[in-house]
């Protein structure tokens, strides 16, 4: 049997050179091949080594009162498609903001909030899709995620109106700075009819979209209030999903879309970070809720990710922390010990709603609910008053995340449902 070179099929030229070197019977044509091959190999090495961060396209956009960033890998190979996708993403973000913004007077949400009880409004297809997703999550979480908390969010001082740089008190309940509001308003705005998001009617007829506002109102302090919705959270997730779909449609899957610090859609990373258990994963870092830097990083790819926490928007009064996540069952900011929670899986819109709902649920209920989310990975950080310590509840295996704060204890099965 003839002794075949193992490279004979995949690289016959290299095989010839190796044979020639071994047999020391080189002639000029082969020497030429060797030179060409060496030069090509050298060039390839330098080209590959040059595909670092400079080979990425990094765009940022200012919508929803926050930033959005889009990173596309191997930009040199996909420049034309990436340029076109960037234009589409800009248009999509503007469209979504015009649908869900609570402060833009022409937006669908603004018009809904300003409408009279029982009024039927024509809305954009985008607003319809976001409302439909919100309704689905409202039902799935038994109302723990409830976008009808708009009045309470404004009352507690967490609405865009209150947080804007040129804020001036205009409502009877307004205070100069964030503080605990009058109890009579908390009670009035917690009226079950005002919070009955399930009573919102969505219709699609003849290619047009409509929403009917529930016929509910409360009068307090001499003024009548109707249902107000807040789609800020789920709207960002929806934006991440839609922007990533635009990238995917152009084959730009080595990418990710981040809307603010709460919503992500991940494709694959062109450069796998050290320690990642699989090729193409991104390392997603999660801010430390009680200090500088990060407390956790998670390796993930081809998925959505969302986070909700009590530490970005909050105030402290008499030693009590009041965060921006309002419990629709009490009318108060959540106080379940939930510090921050991240969910990997499903869509970013759903993840945004689910992490908000998890913050509202009591810890045991939240743990059971998270464990039942099929195919999702989660990391829920709780403060335990009894031990004065922080506890991470996760179903991820140790290879999937890095915990940077050694004072945090970890519980979890490592099983993804």
């Amino acid at each position: 049997m003839r002794n075949e070179c193992p490279l004979a099929l995949t690289c016959p030229a290299l095989c010839d050179i190796l044979k020639a070197v071994m047999q020391r019977r080189f002639r000029k044509p082969r020497a030429l091949v060797a030179i060409v091959l060496a030069a090509a190999f050298t060039a390839a090495v330098f080209l590959l080594a040059g595909c670092g961060p400079e080979g990425r396209r990094f765009d940022m956009y200012g919508y929803f009162g926050t930033y959005s960033s889009v990173v596309i890998g191997n930009y040199g190979d996909v420049a034309d498609a990436a340029d076109e996708a960037a234009k589409e993403i800009e248009a999509a973000l503007a469209d979504i903001e015009n649908a869900v913004s609570a402060s833009t007077e022409t937006s669908d949400v603004y018009r809904f909030n300003a409408a009279a009880p029982g009024e039927r409004l024509e809305i954009s297809g985008t607003a319809y899709e976001v409302l439909e997703a919100a309704m689905k999550m409202y039902e799935e979480t038994d109302g723990a995620y409830n976008p009808a908390v708009g009045n309470l969010v404004d009352l507690w001082g967490f609405s865009p109106r209150f947080e804007s740089a040129d804020y001036e008190p205009t409502e009877p309940y307004d205070r100069p700075t964030q503080s605990v509001p009058d109890e009579e308003y908390i009670e009035a705005f917690s009226d079950p009819a005002l919070l009955d998001f399930g009573a919102v009617v969505l219709e699609e007829t003849g290619g047009k979209y409509y929403v009917t506002k529930p016929d509910a109102s409360v009068t307090v302090g001499g003024k009548t209030y109707t249902m107000r919705i807040d789609l800020g959270g789920i709207g960002k997730g929806y934006a991440a999903d839609r922007c990533y779909d635009l990238l995917k449609a152009r084959g730009l899957t080595e990418s990710y879309v981040a809307i603010g610090t709460s919503s992500l859609r991940l494709g694959r990373s062109a450069e796998t970070p050290d320690g990642a258990p699989e090729e193409g994963m991104w390392r997603v870092t999660i801010s430390h809720p009680r200090g500088a830097g990060q407390y956790l990083s998670v390796y993930a790819k081809d998925t959505a990710a969302s986070t909700s926490g009590d530490y970005e928007r909050y105030f402290i009064e008499n030693g009590v922390r009041y965060c921006h996540i309002i419990d629709p069952f009490t009318g108060y900011p959540t106080a379940t010990g939930y510090v921050t929670g991240s969910l990997f899986g499903r869509t970013a819109a759903e993840g945004d709603a689910l992490t908000t709902a998890l913050a509202v649920m009591e810890r045991s209920e939240a743990e059971a609910f998270a464990a039942g989310l099929e195919g999702c990975k989660y990391a829920l950080l709780y403060y335990n008053e009894n031990t004065d310590g922080y506890e991470l509840v996760t179903n991820m295996s140790e290879s999937e995340y890095v915990l940077y704060d050694e004072s945090i204890t970890v519980t979890g099965s490592g099983d993804v449902g």
Binding site: A49, T261, A292, Q294
Partner: protein, 156 residues
């Protein structure tokens, strides 16, 4: 190895003219690989942080050299001071020096400690850039901080 074998090796001519070309070419490849590995790999210790305003570079910081390089165009809008072993870089977003981001660099990470960009100050709440990657963005000030590492996203 026997004396006969040694004589055979010495008697051979391993460096025929054509072979020399091949050896030189292979040596070039090896040297190129070595150079690429040493100078071009995405090594955490060799990572740098970049700060861009719009499309212009404001400054860069080398973790390995512990060196800050401020662009000439922003020399009047960047202040630095040492604080507990860390470098505190203040970036002034306007010529009047009224809007700022205060960036702390040290211990293999960088983060925005303070800013007066907006009420929500997203940039202050974003996870730190480590010497292997990360991004911090301040839209109102058009400031973008990122590392040469994996450029992974951050939540929180």
């Amino acid at each position: 190895m026997s004396v006969k074998d040694v004589k055979n090796v010495r008697g051979g001519k391993p460096f025929r003219p054509a072979d020399i070309i091949v050896y030189v070419a292979l040596a070039a490849v090896i040297v190129a690989l070595l150079l690429a590995f040493v100078f071009l790999r995405d090594d955490a210790e060799a990572a740098e942080i970049y700060a861009d305003c719009g499309d212009e570079r404001v400054f860069s910081y080398s973790f390995s050299a512990g060196r800050l390089t401020v662009s000439d165009a922003f020399a009047d809008r960047v202040d630095t001071e040492e604080e507990d072993g860390a470098l505190v870089v203040t970036f002034w977003a306007d010529e009047e020096r009224t809007h700022y981001n205060e960036i702390v660099i040290g211990d293999g990470e960088a983060y925005v400690r303070d800013a007066n960009c907006s009420a929500r100050r997203d940039c202050v709440h974003m996870a730190a850039i480590t010497d292997s990657g990360g991004i911090i963005v301040c839209v109102p000030h058009e400031l973008k901080l990122y590392a040469t590492g994996d450029l992974g996203p951050s939540l929180g």
